[in-house]
């Protein structure tokens, strides 16, 4: 007598997913450092010529440098950006000097808690960082950046940071079923909180798996379907960065990007060659080359 629920299919293409983002939208941007950045999604936003986005993230790298370089994002609330271990993010530097990009600075913990607060439905979260520093007092575009209150229980000073509920959360995960139940291998960075903060949530994944696989081990689910609106299958979607248990970063490509983007002309050339000059993510991967990608695959038992 049991009527089995038809599984809801939330799959769309990368192109369709990027089309959902209107100019001026506010986005939680997933991944942390070199780990699982939504690189393919950044490329597609550039291809579709999105403008004036506000990006919320803890620490991001080449992915948001591309968004700044292509004038897709004009505002960032974040804690850190660079091409870690290599140098400063070249495009963001240039766009800041031009006045095309503004940064509101927080700490990594403050940003992660702002996402948790948004996800929890409370308007702020307390923390003990930022006290006594310019992070508390110097503001770019937010009317209220942080407030210091006296704890009604202990009398100590506590910083309140405003919660974030962006229009969209964009996260790249290990695997997901078509209903949107996502697993994330290795570190989660701030993606667990960030994926729950957005009003709409787009999950990109290295692979789509059967829902019975997910449901046979429910304690492995990092993002349950209830939070998720759209699912995009996107293998090698973080390339040239890394995905735990899937593939390593392509250091040669990252270094080439860094060197080339030191000049505006170099960046334009990179963008034309690897982003706007290719039809879609699959064409980008083909351009990189199958053989090169295969060499980057994680070698068990190492997750890289």
């Amino acid at each position: 007598m049991l009527v089995e629920a038809p599984v809801e299919d939330k799959r769309i293409t990368l192109k369709e997913a990027a089309k959902l983002i209107p100019d001026g939208a506010h986005l939680f941007w997933g991944g942390f450092g070199f780990q699982r950045p939504p690189m393919a999604f950044a490329h597609e936003l550039v291809r579709q010529k999105k403008r004036n986005l506000t990006i919320y993230t803890c620490g991001s790298e080449m992915d948001i440098d591309i968004l700044a370089g292509a004038y897709v994002a004009s505002r960032f609330e974040l804690a850190f950006f660079a091409i870690e271990g290599i140098g400063l993010a070249p495009n963001i530097q240039r766009r800041i000097r031009e006045g095309a990009v503004q940064i509101e600075d927080y700490t990594n913990l403050a940003m992660a808690l702002r996402f948790l607060g948004g996800a929890l439905g409370v308007p702020f979260m307390p923390l003990k960082s930022m006290l006594g520093t310019d992070l508390l007092t110097k503001k770019r575009f937010r009317e209220k950046k942080a407030e210091v209150i006296t704890c009604p229980f202990t009398g100590e000073k506590v910083v309140l940071v405003p919660s974030v509920r962006p229009d969209f959360s964009i996260v790249h995960v290990s695997r997901v079923d078509k209903e949107g139940n996502a697993q994330i291998d290795g570190i989660k960075g701030e993606d667990v909180e960030g994926a729950r903060a957005g009003k709409k949530v787009i999950v990109l994944a290295e692979e789509i798996v059967d829902t019975e696989f997910i449901r046979s081990q429910p304690d492995q689910t990092a993002i349950p379907n209830i939070y998720v609106d759209y699912v995009v299958e996107c293998p090698w979607g973080a390339y040239p960065m890394m995905v735990y248990n899937y593939y390593d970063y392509d250091l040669e490509h990252i270094r080439m990007y860094y060197q080339q983007c030191k000049t505006e002309e170099g960046w334009q050339k990179y963008c034309e060659e690897y982003i706007t000059g290719v039809e879609d993510h699959m064409e980008f991967l083909k351009k990189i080359g199958f053989e090169r990608l295969l060499k980057l695959r994680a070698k068990k038992p190492f997750p890289y």
Binding site: Q35, C58, F80, T107, S129, K157, V158, P303
Partner: protein
């Protein structure tokens, strides 16, 4: 057992700095580090005098036992034989702000005489010359770890009277200021540069010269320091690396990613 120290010319300044960083870690301590020199220092400590030190990387790797050098604090390499791989709120919130981190390592683009740190802007806030990477977890670490080791290059434009931007709190304006601001952690305890090691005077909370690296003169240090450095009567020389430390160090970073090999850097 007598220590077998390397002689000048047998090691580079970066190697000496890594060794100084490693020696600042005690066995059993919880150590919060980032990529670069601090990572190498922590890995060296674990392989020498502090095998039970537990290294935490803010991306979520806890008690990491990495055997390969990572480029990013979120690098999968750091997950090798870790106790746990979780996330930022775990490391920066529950471990660090929760009071469980003994020593945190940070870098600095500028520091002032109270150990306050700038990693955000060079130049005026309204019209900065250079935009640096920002706090990342730096402010969180310096706010809440029990003590802080700062590793940086010793230059006059970096050791300044007044910071362009105060990113992470040293002793702020002096004794009692951290407590008054509501900060939990113990503040900076050691600054390791390419010229010397400095600590903080317990009374005034101002930076004080602690040891001078072999071959460096006091004159050199003063010329490269933009604030009034406290100089005690007797300043010992920095203990050089031992041959054992150097061998382990070079095995940790065999390709010279963070510490170019002596042969490659004959000018240093």
């Amino acid at each position: 057992m007598e220590k077998n120290y390397a002689k000048p010319g047998e090691y580079t300044t970066l190697e000496l700095m890594a060794v100084c960083g490693a020696r600042a870690i005690k066995n059993g301590e919880v150590v919060f580090v980032g990529t670069g020199l601090p990572m190498i220092a922590a890995m060296l400590a674990k392989r020498t005098h502090a095998p039970r030190a537990r290294i935490v990387y803010e991306a979520g790797f806890i008690d990491s036992n990495a055997i390969d050098i990572a480029l990013s604090i979120a690098d999968s390499r750091l997950g090798y034989r870790a106790s746990a791989a979780i996330g930022l709120i775990e490391t920066l919130g529950l471990l660090l702000q929760g009071g469980r981190v003994d020593v945190g390592f940070v870098g600095a683009a500028q520091i002032d005489e109270y150990g306050n740190i700038n990693t955000t802007y060079i130049g005026d806030f309204e019209h900065p010359t250079v935009r640096l990477p920002g706090s990342g977890g730096g402010n969180d670490i310096v706010s809440s770890a029990k003590r802080i080791v700062i590793i940086m290059t010793h230059e006059r434009r970096k050791m300044v009277k007044k910071l362009d931007y105060l990113t992470s709190p040293g002793f702020l304006t002096g004794p009692g200021a951290r407590e008054k601001a509501g900060l939990l952690g113990g503040g900076p305890s050691l600054v390791v540069t390419n010229l010397c090691q400095m600590d903080f005077d317990p009374e005034t909370k101002r930076i004080r010269l602690a040891t001078i690296h072999p071959g460096v003169t006091l004159q050199q240090i003063m010329e490269n320091t933009g604030f009034d450095l406290i100089i005690p009567e007797h300043v010992p020389a920095t203990e050089p690396p031992t041959y054992e430390e150097l061998a382990i160090l070079r095995a940790i970073d065999p390709y010279g990613i963070y510490i170019p090999r002596p042969a490659q850097t004959s000018s240093s």
